[in-house]
Symmetry: C2
Subunit: 255 residues, 2 copies
């Protein structure tokens, strides 16, 4: 599986993804799932993908091809990120139309999702989740993060730490910890991890990092985090047991 | 949904469950999902259930009925917990046989799972997960916990804290925190939380607790845990960005 997430607040955007792709547990490989289509000074456009690899690669290839062919509509020509989301949704529908009937016949999952984050000159930064069906939602101040793929293991840390006022550097740490938690609980999510951090109104991507397996930073924060969690855990007060049972039978199936 | 978990090591067994049952988000109610069938001095038998409520209630009712009727095979007569797991599996198959075709017609989920934990005189403590199909697995020292229902949000904390050497009181805290993490991320899991703690070779259940909504202990550990997680998070070292991008185009779709 894959896990990608995006977080947005007034300071900017953080996006991150793992790189593991698997067809069953007996075929695991690494594919990049975070793509940078920025034009410095004019727009920052970051796309993360999850789901059927042939579908997502098809979409990304078509996005790149439209740029190369200087089509009227391509990632460099839109004035609004909202329209970019619609355009990516339409590309997804194109590929689904071509391949879905054949995948469906063999019961192969044809679903895919995209995260789209960035800022186009004249607009505020925005973050979208584009569904397999081509429709999309946008992150809002109430829920400043969006996730695709294996989202559950990495959600508790986001729920407990991310706010509209969290500094960007902290959001980036949070994204890495969220992916690390997922890697710890699900082997189908794995390194390298790609992370980007975008500062509002900078219109260029100054922070980008790939953390490979065994990367000292990744090892260090995993070790520190586990120490802290264990310490936090040890300092929790013991349960105050209120009910010391003397007789059992009357308890069964009553209350 | 439901979330129940069991943890076992040489010190004993901890089991816990939430009490929320929902049929869609517009019909939420509370049902007990942790049942105590112990006979002090002879056996401790705790059962947690998740899944279709009519199926799990049916199974629990039949278990109780066999006790009441003093059937040759009932929860009080088996000498091995392994056989108790098989017996519960068979009861599950009985109810599935009766109801499944009717539920299937209306596309209603008929699945259910049970956790079975306890100790029968002459044996060591054991913990089982019984599937909807009636088969079952047992917790082992390598993976000392089993979960049913909405398991994912509560797994990271178990992965990071539970070991074969964790004291029983700590396992109980861990179980409560695991359920609390799940409640925080999924509203279909909710209080009251039932928790039991069983000490190996005591053959009676001395610790049992129900934490209701607004329980001071639950509020206290949630607050403390969040403070610790935030503190841990703040003390993580910032990402050491290695790659400060100057030029973008050559980066797209390469590497």
């Amino acid at each position: 599986m894959t896990y990608c997430l995006g977080i947005i607040n007034r300071f900017g955007i953080v996006m991150a993804s793992d790189s593991r792709t698997n067809a069953g547990v007996d075929y695991i490989s690494a594919y990049k799932k975070l793509f940078d289509f920025s034009v410095p000074g004019d727009r920052v456009i970051i796309i993360c993908s999850s789901g059927n690899l042939s579908i997502t690669q098809g979409v990304i290839t078509r996005l790149q091809r439209d740029i190369n062919n200087e089509e009227k509509e391509n990632l460099y020509t839109f004035s609004h990120l909202y329209d970019v989301a619609r355009y990516i949704g339409n590309k997804t529908r194109e590929i689904q139309e071509l391949d879905r009937p054949w995948l469906e016949k063999d019961k192969i999952d044809y679903h895919c999702n995209f995260l789209l984050g960035g800022q186009i000159k004249g607009e505020t930064p925005q973050l979208y989740l584009i569904y397999s069906q081509g429709n999309y939602i946008q992150a809002t101040p109430e829920t400043p993060f969006l996730q695709i793929g294996e989202a559950k293991y990495g959600k508790p840390i986001l729920d407990r730490t991310v706010t509209g006022e969290t500094p960007l550097e902290a959001l980036a740490k949070c994204a890495v910890l969220s992916i690390d938690s997922t890697m710890k609980s699900n082997i189908s999510v794995g390194p390298p991890i790609d992370v980007i951090m975008y500062n509002t109104n900078s219109f260029q991507l100054l922070h980008k990092l790939q953390l490979r397996l065994g990367d000292p930073y990744l090892a260090k924060i995993r070790k520190l985090w586990e120490e802290h969690v264990r310490h936090a855990f040890e300092s929790m007060p013991n349960i105050e047991w209120k009910y010391e049972v003397q007789s059992y039978q009357e308890d069964v199936l009553i209350d």
